[in-house]
């Protein structure tokens, strides 16, 4: 399409500015993570006067970073998989069936998005403790508790996005599958889910990011052995000092795999949102 000069220039200027806005903090992280502590505590310089990889060695001993990373990974991945599984079933139900209470269900689930976390943090905590006392299933202080909590955080948005996606898959497809002898679940798994892969991946990414960054519940519900990164990284700010260079180094180290995975999946993300969120 032939675009006028004004459009091209606007594009150049706006996108360059945005690129700067996005990249400057990333550059700060990178350069600060390679500085000595005294340099980081001093005035900011664009070009570091001396580089050291020391922070990248120290991060592992200042706080048990690897352990926190594993915790975060286990919690976020489990929460993501479960949340998406539950969301697929619910979305299938909402998308393919008309039943009394359907509207009520969607509204209720969506309205949980409005709940301020602070309102149900303490009650949830008390409930977890009581479940632990009466059944022996330890939810407080365990990864299990965090997993169920986080999975419900992303559930409403996931269901709603998948409903949109499932709606866009022609009903004839699963009807045909049913005629061919699949039950409703057969139709779901053989036809609808494969057709909805981009949407499902988009939901996965969203659920993962929600669990990965959560601070409030993690600070109350975890202990030494189950602490996640989001709260564990605070360990670089100690009694005496904030090890800024280590904070940055650790942040980079833990972010690289996540960002890389995210970018690999971004193609699906757009495709998934295209059909899902946009309805």
């Amino acid at each position: 399409m032939a675009s006028p000069k004004s459009f091209l220039w606007t594009r150049r200027i706006v996108l360059t500015l945005l690129l700067l806005f996005v990249l400057v903090p990333v550059y700060v992280m990178l350069s600060s993570s390679l500085k000595k502590l005294q340099d980081v505590q001093g005035s900011f310089k664009w070009i570091p006067s001396g580089l050291t990889i020391r922070p990248y060695i120290d991060i592992w001993s200042t706080v048990p970073l690897a352990h926190y990373f594993m915790n975060s990974l286990i919690v976020s991945v489990s929460a993501t998989l479960l949340s998406v599984a539950v969301a697929i079933f619910a979305a299938y139900g909402v998308s393919r069936y008309r039943f009394p209470g359907r509207r009520f269900f969607t509204i209720t689930v969506l309205s949980t998005q409005m709940f301020p976390g602070i309102l149900f943090l303490l009650p949830l905590f008390i409930i977890f403790v009581n479940i632990g006392n009466s059944t022996g299933i330890q939810l407080y202080g365990s990864r299990l508790g965090l997993i169920i909590t986080y999975l419900t955080f992303s559930l409403p948005f996931s269901i709603w996005m998948l409903v949109g996606y499932f709606d866009s898959i022609p009903r004839d497809l699963d009807e045909a599958a049913k005629v061919d002898g699949c039950g409703p679940f057969g139709a779901l798994f053989r036809v609808v889910v494969p057709a909805a892969i981009p949407g499902i991946i988009a939901v996965c990414v969203y659920a993962f990011m929600t669990a990965w960054g959560e601070v409030l519940f993690a600070s109350i519900m975890t202990n030494d052995s189950t602490r996640t990164l989001a709260v564990g990284l605070r360990g670089y700010a100690t009694q005496n000092d904030v090890y800024w260079n280590q904070v940055m180094a650790a942040s980079l180290v833990v972010s690289v795999p996540v960002v890389a995975g995210f970018l690999l999946l971004q193609r699906y993300l757009v495709a998934g949102l295209t059909a899902g969120a946009v309805k």
């Binding site: 399409m1 006028p4 459009f7 594009r11 706006v14 945005l18 996005v22 903090p25 700060v28 992280m29 600060s32 005035s43 900011f44 310089k45 539950v86 079933f89 619910a90 299938y92 139900g93 909402v94 039943f99 209470g101 269900f105 209720t108 998005q113 409005m114 709940f115 301020p116 976390g117 602070i118 309102l119 303490l122 009650p123 949830l124 409930i127 169920i148 909590t149 999975l151 419900t152 559930l155 699949c182 039950g183 679940f185 057969g186 960054g213 601070v215 409030l216 990164l229 989001a230 940055m248 942040s251 980079l252 833990v254 960002v259 995210f262 971004q266 757009v270 949102l273 295209t274 946009v278």
Partner: protein, 335 residues
Amino acid sequence: MTATAPPRSAPEAGPPSGKKPAAGGRLRPRIPVRLRQLGLPYLLLFPALILELLIHLIPMVFGIIISFKGLTQFFIRDWGSAPWSGLDNYRLAVKFNQPVGEALLHSFWVTCGFTILSVGFCWLIGTAAAILMQDAFRGRALMRAVFLVPYALPVYTAVITWTFMFQQDTGLVNHVLHDQLHLTSDKPFWLIGPNSFWALVIVSVWKGWPFAFLCLMAGLQNIPRELYEAAAMDGAGVWQQIRKITMPSLRPVNQVLILVLFLWTFNDFNTPYVMFGQSAPHAADLISIHIYQSSFITWNFGSGSAMSVLLLLFLLLVTAVYLLLTSRKRGDADA
């Protein structure tokens, strides 16, 4: 924990309609097909419902009960023993001419301002970027990837980096503004005082706009090419096409996007907490932190819960009104 039941019974649940159940199959033939079909959607929703009940709804009911109690540190060991305080907690929270209510109201306005600005900028930048990147050009894929980085970074990482950059004496922001561009005569403060509000908005926009960008990009892909071609034939320029075709087509995306961003931003706890710790500066005293301080720091959960309930009521009201307004508009447009 019965949440697991439906998936497990999945293979048993569905006899292909119109076919006779296989003899000796795993089916329970006594349940009539119709009943099974009626029950099926509920079965599908069951896990989601149970989880929402356990994690959101029941705790929220608890929270509402607590808001009618004087649950302070004297009673937290056995919260059931806390005395009923009727509407006291609410009365205290809404007496806006007295300091507690006044502080809450202040915090509410701060949050409103913050949310409007943050959502507004997120939407604006997201829309601009999505529209400008609608057509292919060299480096588009790479640029799109870079733009998604802020969304992919863990909240703590992103916010702590900005906090580092906002330090008055040693931060990058003042280095650029004061030392390099000489825009300010003095190094301003960003983490305390009035500017802390803007610092918060900047961080929130930085973290949030890629999500808007992503959704709008997806929305743009749904607009049929023919529309643009037809408009081009009629002699409409790029700017006119954007105004006449792109923006109206994005309306359904916008309706949802803005609502979701609004709710997330209004309830955002992670950003201010990582940035300011337990006590935010007056100008950036977001309601989530304010309530956290009134309940978790001072262990007065009754009053904290009452404030949360008020907040919830407000959000319900705003959402309802918003949906009503935008849906009607949409209806008019369609008609």
